[in-house]
Symmetry: C2
Subunit: 303 residues, 2 copies
């Protein structure tokens, strides 16, 4: 099962003509997960061809407008399109009264399930049989969480030649899939490893925005396949980064390196820089496999 | 003095890739007036090259999201750009607690002057020495106002040849500009009309969205140079128009004709129609000088 991440918006606080502010959408086998929802996200979703009705979970990192001002329009549009199924929102509890205050004239006809985030410690906030989502605290000017999307280890597959060779029935196949060896009538034992092929390696994606340099998140990010880490500033503006609760490209790369991630993508760029080539170059000195994203970039994680 | 109107968004409730929802900006001699503010308006303003700091007045017709969801981002961006001057907002009084609820974490450093609209009768809401803005009630599912922007009659100009011929001094010029005749030393009276050229004809623009067909607005719209009237539906969907508090293209044209306006522009189109050619043709049967607008259209009113 592949994860596909699409960057909907890559700019920091103020959207521009070319870059919307923060929003990512993660496709886990045609289930879509929206991570942050800046102004215009519903338009970006349309541009990227994401079907609105496949979107049932929205994760909001924190309550600065460039991460959630698109939510009002998206929820209203869902309603106008006749949405019936519930929508899960994971956010600071203080978002709920904002939604109530703004949307009370909009006849929202579907259920909104509001899941307040825990800003004190990591917490599993969504747990299915195939994947989980864990929130974890970041360090910003407002309470802020990152999100880790992680597939569960996949069941082994039975070798087709073993099914033929040992004439396996359904009961035996289920038993072997669950890890048992096969005991033949002769008493001979065929070990599980000879009967099975390992399942695909589970994949993972982590989203870290907004945050200043924060080493406490390294164990949570350990070995993730794809890490998005904000990089609002370059290293020469490190003091400004710290005082505003943000990171430099170099700091994002340090986190990626320490956590041994597969690939690092950086975004949430300050409009003060003419382009982001410097960001990418700066990060690559520390962690080679880094990419500075732009709106519309797609990353396939796993096979 | 020319008015220039720019259509920032022309779609109804749901924005699309090609059309944002309702927002217009009126340039009165480099003073900019924003009328409605749908999601993404700050991006549209940038695309059209409107300088944010020249924008001091925002008029919100009513509290459906497609007319104001862009306000949160715009106000936040103003603050991030270091705005100091006050911003005037003219809207339903219930907008204020919404802004307070959403923006309280955003350190808005400039003054927001909130002007509640009167939904019972027309009211002058802004009055300068050169123009006025009048709100007037429309008929929609929520309390809703239209807005009339009207230049004041312009002072006459003194004929240059009269200044030379009668050797007019400053006191005489001021007196003639204010309407006096000239009394020569001989006792002869030169009538004001022989000494002056009329000032340019004052121009006007009216914005009517959202509303069902409403004849009571005709006297207010009498002789306006440019009228924007919503036309969400075509005539075959007239019942739907009425039940949802909207107008058809034909109805917009009837209003334009009865009010003897100079030009009619229609917008706020429902996404149910593949294009708006039918709208324009339908309206032109009643009122020839009609244009179905798209995002980015500009109209210069006056010279």
């Amino acid at each position: 099962m592949a994860f596909t991440l699409t960057v909907l918006g890559s700019n920091s606080a103020i959207p521009t003509i070319k870059r919307f502010a923060s929003a990512h959408v993660l496709n886990i086998h045609e289930r879509f997960f929206l991570i942050d929802c800046s102004e215009g996200t519903q338009i970006r979703l349309r541009t990227e061809g994401v079907k609105f009705m496949h979107l049932n979970h929205v994760f909001i990192s924190h309550l600065h407008g460039d991460h959630f001002f698109g939510l009002f329009g998206l929820l209203s549009t869902f309603s106008l399109l006749g949405r019936k199924q519930a929508l899960n929102i994971y956010a600071d509890a203080r978002l709920k009264p904002m939604l109530d205050a703004v949307l009370y004239m909009h006849e929202i006809a579907y259920e909104i399930v509001f899941n307040p985030l825990n800003f004190k410690e990591p917490q599993v906030i969504l747990d299915s049989n195939t994947f989980s989502v864990t929130s974890f605290p970041l360090k910003h000017r407002l309470p802020c969480c990152g999100f880790l999307f992680k597939e569960k280890p996949k069941q082994v597959n039975i070798r087709k030649d073993a099914i033929v060779k040992y004439n396996l029935n359904v009961k035996e196949i289920v038993s072997i899939k669950n890890g048992s060896d096969l005991v033949l009538e002769s008493g001979e034992i065929i070990p599980n490893s000879e009967l099975t092929i390992p399942g695909q390696t589970p994949v993972s994606y982590a989203y870290c925005s907004d945050t200043q340099y924060l080493e406490s998140i390294i164990p949570i990010l350990k070995d993730v396949d794809l890490l998005y880490h904000e990089a609002t500033f370059t290293a020469k503006d490190e003091k400004l980064a710290k005082s505003t609760g943000h990171s430099t490209a170099e700091q994002a790369a340090k986190i990626a390196k320490a956590a041994n991630v597969g690939k690092l993508i950086i975004g949430h760029f300050s409009s003060r820089y003419k382009n982001n080539d410097g960001m990418e170059a700066e990060a690559r000195k520390v962690f080679e496999n880094t990419f500075a994203v732009k709106d519309g970039d797609k990353f396939v994680i796993g096979k």
